[in-house]
Amino acid sequence: MAQDTAQGTARGTAQVLQRPGESKAPSSPAERTARRKALLEWIAVHSLGVAAALFFTLPFVFVFLTSLMSDSQALSRDLIPHTWEWANYRKVFDTPGFLTWWRNTLIYAGLGTVLTVVSSVPVAYALAKFRFRGRNLALMLVISMMMLPPQVVVIPMYLFWAKQLDLSGTLWPMIIPLAFGDAFSIFLLRQFLMTIPNEYVDAAKVDGCGDLRTLLKIVLPMAKPGIAAVALFQFFAAWNDYFGPQIYASENPGAWTLSYALESFKGAHHTDWNLTMAATVLVMAPVILVFFFAQKAFVEGVTLTGVKG
């Protein structure tokens, strides 16, 4: 895939800088103006591209640079640190509770992702490959749930978890529901499973495979890229979740997650933007690293188990 783009890019540039079929000086004035126009367009487009790239990347750069400033410099209007204070990151890790928040986030994201995948795959498979009355209604209900803001049902849910089960101040009210299918994941997996030709499923049936065996042995290996995508999205969703911890964990700092605890740095360190930004970098970095790491897995998954229709 990377090769493709590289080749395409090389070709594109070559085309822009040099029309195919002519290697030496241009022959006619018309061709020369066309080439000049193409070159000007290339320059305009790439200047815009660089401007856009600055807009998208500078915030990251400023945040990172500030995270390395000394306390006194963080209060100034400087953009570049005089001394590189890598110790700021150590200070963040030494903040009471930081490692607990890290652990909580990993439990919520990790366990939540596993439960989501295990519970959503069979549902998505039924919605994609079984025929039954009410299938479209079920799909519409899944989409409705997917579009529902969590605040709509939070009052009864909170009363249920906190008053009836006495589980507020823990991560469980956020994790347990994921064991019963997550609407967005079901929808996404269903879309992916729809692309797997029915012939595979039918052939497995003819060979005497039961539904469960067909799913586990035939469909799952083909659905790996889809499952990877769902797992990634669910991991990010848990990592980014603010409302869940705010409702269920706020009373107990021992149950906070990183996303929820992040703003407490601003409070604990008043105007020390440097430590707040160091903590911000630490919350952003894993997500971006996972993305780069998983991008490879995606491409690999697609090439290895590409469903050939």
Binding site: A53, L75, V123, V142, V154, N240, Y242, G267, M277
Partner: protein, 322 residues
Amino acid sequence: MSAPTLRAKRRPSGLAAKQRKQALRTLAFLSPWLIGFTVFFAYPMISTVYFSFMHYDGFRPPTWSGTKNWTYVFEHYPFFWPALRNTLWLVVIMVTLRVLFGLGIGMLITKIKTGTGVFRTLFYLPYLAPPVAATMAFAFLLNPGTGPVNSILEKIGIPAPGWFNDPDWSKPALTLMFLWGVGDLMVIFMAALLDVPKEQYEAAELDGASAWQRFRFVTLPNISPIIMFAVVTGVIAAMQCYTQPLVAGKVASGVIQGAGTMFEPGYPEHSTLTLPQLVYNLGFQRFDYGSACVVALVLFALSMAFTALLMRRRGGLIQAGD
């Protein structure tokens, strides 16, 4: 399809038994979601409707209060109309800008021929930044005292706004942050633009169409379903906007977070209040669960109205099965 002779050999109820078995297997596969739907959606929805007619503070048992919660929310609760106005502002202005900007960036990336992969990744990364982290980053970047953005603006000689500390500028500041995270739209527009048939562009060029005419009569008609999709999902997301305005307001107002911290949502001057925040404010700060459920139902009605647009047979989310 079994021949009658074969069926005669089996039990007479063979076909019915097979159907029953199929229904059971479907139920078994759907069971996680059926439980989830009942416990985490249907029951709380009914319960929310029930509580919207009850007075309940979480301590004394709930008592029937008729439409009192409803009249309170619409007539006396000071935050409802400001929040609805802000939500409308975000829906109209922020969504419009985000779709236009996303389309622009999508077109730009299809035109870039050198280093496409690098540009695409750089444009996409901000979309992945966790909402709280992105909000903290922008609260710092745009803070009026020492923020880099205002430092640079003042060096150039442009009057620097107060961003998250100025009621007139807090929503534009939020919008700027959402424009920064436009990567998702860039990706879907890029895919749509690359799908436009090349022949149509060639035909337009032969007819001597200008660049604007090519965009207007070839590009737009081809990508209009995707624009529609982007607008509708954008509207839904804008209505449900919660974390970013809440955190931005809290950080800008300087409250220290912790158990039992009282903060007035919507700082400055209710300019960052959104509907979902009202559910939190009424339920978990004022312990008025009944009125919180009224706002929840308003939010539900709005969300579902726009979701219905996505479920149309044509140009909707559902591709026809089979």
